[in-house]
């Protein structure tokens, strides 16, 4: 459990100290990608707890989810459809689902 936390701290530290700032029009894309990534990480935690963790599935899920979510949001923006909300909603639901399962697993029920 220590490695993810170390990674997270390093990442936040890097992100806060990076001189780049995101242009206004990409904020939505990043937020959707962020939700996807968060979902993937929680999914990974869940599968680890369930004992069927697979490294390849986790890594590919992480990147593909983030990428597809961003792509969807991008095209939605281009077409004038708010797919951004769809992404946020879907990943949000999954995040809560994952959290619920993890909680149950930790409680051992």
């Amino acid at each position: 459990m220590i490695y993810p936390i170390i990674g997270l701290i390093i990442g936040i530290f890097l992100g806060l100290n990076m001189p780049i700032s995101l242009p206004q029009e990409y904020v939505k894309l990043l937020s959707v990608a962020l939700m996807a990534v968060l979902d993937s990480v929680l999914g990974g935690m869940r599968s680890a707890k369930e004992g069927n963790y697979d490294n390849q599935i986790f890594i590919s899920g992480f990147f593909v989810n983030a990428f597809v979510a961003t792509l969807l949001c991008y095209f939605g923006e281009r077409l004038g459809i708010d797919l951004y909300f769809v992404g946020i909603l879907a990943f949000g639901l999954r995040i809560f689902q994952n959290i619920a399962i993890i909680r149950r697993l930790y409680l051992g029920k």
Partner: protein, 230 residues
């Protein structure tokens, strides 16, 4: 544990990416809030609220004061109008002009009238004083008002139907400097009068006192208002 060393590194990297994304999103959001247009709009709407509140309070205060002070306002207005009409004594900075007949002895064959003060001499002085911003004028102890006359009455002068003999003292309230310079202008009133030896002195005073008009105002023919059809 259930994952090998390889997986640990990957998970660390993945979490680092997550952290970077989180931090970037956070920073972007913060900088957006700090953006000038955003801040400005917020600032302006805040100030608008404050100012509107202030305005409403002031409006209420105006209403309250109007209710309370309408009598006072009327009284003040009446006093002001009285002062304009000459019904009250006035005082303030101004000039005192003393005019006396000529001491020169007229040459034989010359018109002696030229060496005396006439009504039109005084009228010119008065006119000059008014032109240079005198706010109130009195001759001797007679206040000049809208219907005051200045005319010859034999060897004397009639002002407000009171007669005066020389010397005449003209008091005027106004800017002392401009009043004096207007009178002493080259080619002006005093220069002309001096030519005939008429004695004119102008002194600037800190406090000139004008008496109130002593007569009564009455209209015999005039009526107030436009009167409709001619």
């Amino acid at each position: 544990m259930f994952y090998d060393k390889h997986a640990k590194i990957l998970i660390t990297i993945v979490c680092a990416i997550l952290g970077v994304m989180l931090a970037t999103q956070f920073r972007t959001n913060e900088s957006r809030k700090a953006n000038i247009p955003y801040q400005r709009a917020e600032d302006l709407s805040e100030r608008l609220k404050v100012v509107e509140k202030e305005r409403n309070q002031l409006l209420l205060e105006i209403q309250r004061l109007q209710e309370k002070a309408s009598d006072e306002v009327v009284a003040r207005e009446i006093n002001m109008l009285k002062a304009y009409a000459g019904d009250t004594a006035l005082h303030g900075p101004g000039v005192i002009v003393t005019v006396d007949d000529s001491k020169k002895v007229s040459k034989p064959g010359e018109n002696q009238n030229l060496y005396l003060i006439h009504d039109d001499d005084l009228l010119r002085i008065i006119n000059e004083l008014r032109a240079s911003g005198a706010e109130g004028i009195a001759i001797n102890e007679e206040r000049l008002i809208a219907v005051s006359e200045i005319r010859c009455a034999g060897p004397t002068l009639s002002v407000n139907n009171n007669r005066f003999a020389p010397p005449y003292v003209i008091r005027a309230i106004g800017d002392p400097k401009s009043l004096e310079t207007a009178l002493k202008m080259r080619g002006g009133v005093i220069e002309t009068l001096k030519f005939w030896g008429i004695q004119v002195t102008v002194t600037q005073e800190e406090n000139v006192v004008l008496p109130a008009f002593k007569g009564t105002h009455s209209f015999e023919y005039a009526k107030v208002g436009e009167g409709g059809k001619g």
